[in-house]
Every structure is written in structure tokens, then in C-alpha cells.
């Protein structure tokens, strides 16, 4: 009895974020983590001097993706809010870098993950935060009376 009570006290506290559409989101974020992190790690290690700005931005994108993936898998209200903030930041990042690469291509001798709004990645970088924001807002706890 005591054990079950303890369980029920802990478990419902965490909103599950990887159920249903969240699973697809986690998988796509996982793909982006692998893509952005391995790409920037390779480029920074081998040819950093060629396009330092582009490679640093790719690494930053990888970090953001990694953090969002972690929060989604962890679940819970705090994680949900942190993920919301990061997804918003991610969207701003994609839009800024995307526009930047179009307006001033000379600043980017090589592409970043977010170049041209993520065209090299099937526009997943720009679609993903939009979908994630929608999903995270829908996952608001019901008790909050939204």
C-alpha cells in the first residue's frame, strides 16, 4: 500500500511528452541532434578556419536540439516549459540564420544546419519547432484550466 501511494504521488506529476505525436517529434529531434552535432564536430575538427561562423552556429543548433530532445524524453511541467522556450529560440534562430544566409551569403562560405531555413534538411529545421510549439501547448496540464 505504502509503495503504491508513493508511486502515485510521484508519477502523475510528470506530463508525458513522448506519447502519440510526441514520439514522432522526439525521433525527428534525435535525427537533427545526430545530424547537427556530428556535422559540426567533423567540420570544426577538420576545417574550422574555412567557415568558423557557420560551423559554430551548427554546433549551437546541435546543442539546442540536444536539450529539447532531453526535455521531451524527461517530461514534466518544468521540462515542458523549458522545451517551449527552446523551441521558440530555435524558431527565431532558424528564421534569423535563414534570412541572414539569403541576405549576406558572403558571411557563410559553407552551409550551416539552418542555412536557407534548413533547405538542405528538407525544411525540417523550420517545420520542427512550429510542430513542437503546437504539441507542447496542447500538452498543457488540464488542471491548469486552460
Amino acid at each position: 500500500m505504502a509503495a503504491t501511494r508513493e508511486r502515485t504521488r510521484q508519477e502523475p506529476r510528470r506530463t508525458r511528452l513522448v506519447g502519440g505525436p510526441g514520439l514522432l517529434l522526439v525521433w525527428l529531434y534525435g535525427v537533427m541532434v545526430v545530424g547537427a552535432v556530428s556535422r559540426s564536430a567533423y567540420q570544426i575538427a577538420t576545417e574550422f578556419g574555412r567557415a568558423p561562423l557557420a560551423y559554430t552556429l551548427s554546433a549551437l543548433a546541435g546543442l539546442v536540439y540536444g536539450f529539447i530532445t532531453y526535455t521531451l524524453v524527461r517530461g514534466g511541467e518544468t521540462a515542458r516549459r523549458a522545451a517551449l522556450v527552446c523551441c521558440a529560440a530555435e524558431l527565431v534562430g532558424v528564421l534569423t540564420i535563414g534570412t541572414w544566409t539569403l541576405v549576406e551569403p558572403s558571411a557563410f562560405p559553407d552551409a550551416t544546419v539552418w542555412s536557407e531555413y534548413g533547405m538542405g534538411y528538407l525544411f525540417i529545421p523550420v517545420l520542427l519547432p512550429l510542430t513542437a510549439l503546437y504539441w507542447l501547448r496542447a500538452a498543457r496540464p488540464r488542471t491548469a484550466g486552460a
Partner: protein
């Protein structure tokens, strides 16, 4: 990348050419199989069904193809062939395409709804893209 390298590599000794052609065919077959898997699981998701035994057999077939591709790719490297865009990137993409579909398959085991099917379908599309990139990396 250089234009002088392309012609030389395209016309090689017959034995080397055969294995090289095998890799091209494998890349094409795997890409098409990945798209078929994506369509199939997408259909299941559309009909509100989770992934079933037959889908997992499909995933196994696609994974087997990527495994063969991994082995053939490594054999090619061992024979001294050089991918146009570098060995590290080539191996990374080979490993990535091998892990892609099984990872989604395991996730869909824990999510017995249409969303599991859609995740596997997405992995098929991603694998097809990886195959196109693999071809570019190999051929330049």
C-alpha cells in the same frame, strides 16, 4: 570534387568496377525500399493502425539492405577506394543509415498507435535522403 577525378574513377579496372557498381545498385535499391517502407507505414498510420509483424519484417529487410551496404562500403574502403567527399563522412553516413530504421522500429514498439507507424514512415523518408547523400559522397 575536381573535374579531373571524375572521369578517371568512372573508368576503372573491371573487377573494381563491379564492386563499385554493386554499391551504386545497393544504394538505389535501399533508397527505393526505404520509400516503400515509408509509404506502407504511412498507409498504416492513415488507417489508424500501429506497426504490426509484417511491418517489422519490412523494417528487417530494409535494415538488412543497409547492413549489406555497410559491409560492401567497408570492403570498398579496404580495397583502397576513396569516397569523393572523404572517408569519415562516408562511414558516418553508412552507420547512420544502418541505425535509422531500427531506432524508429524500437520506438514504435513502445507506442502502439498510429504515431508509431508514422515515426517508422518518417524514418523511411530520412533513410531515402541518407541514400541520396551517400551516393553524392561516393561519386562526388
Amino acid at each position: 570534387m575536381g573535374p579531373e577525378g571524375v572521369g578517371v574513377r568512372a573508368v576503372g579496372v573491371s573487377g573494381r568496377n563491379k564492386v563499385a557498381a554493386m554499391l551504386d545498385v545497393l544504394t538505389l535499391v535501399t533508397g527505393v525500399a526505404a520509400l516503400l517502407l515509408a509509404a506502407w507505414c504511412g498507409w498504416a498510420a492513415y488507417r489508424d493502425q500501429p506497426t504490426k509483424d509484417w511491418h517489422f519484417i519490412g523494417m528487417a529487410v530494409v535494415t538488412l539492405l543497409t547492413l549489406v551496404q555497410l559491409v560492401v562500403g567497408i570492403v570498398q574502403l579496404a580495397r583502397g577506394e576513396k569516397p569523393e567527399q572523404g572517408t569519415t563522412i562516408f562511414v558516418a553516413y553508412l552507420l547512420g543509415s544502418f541505425a535509422c530504421v531500427p531506432a524508429a522500429g524500437f520506438l514504435s514498439l513502445g507506442e502502439r498507435t498510429r504515431w508509431g507507424s508514422l515515426t517508422v514512415a518518417a524514418s523511411g523518408v530520412v533513410l531515402a535522403v541518407l541514400e541520396v547523400r551517400l551516393f553524392d559522397i561516393w561519386r562526388g
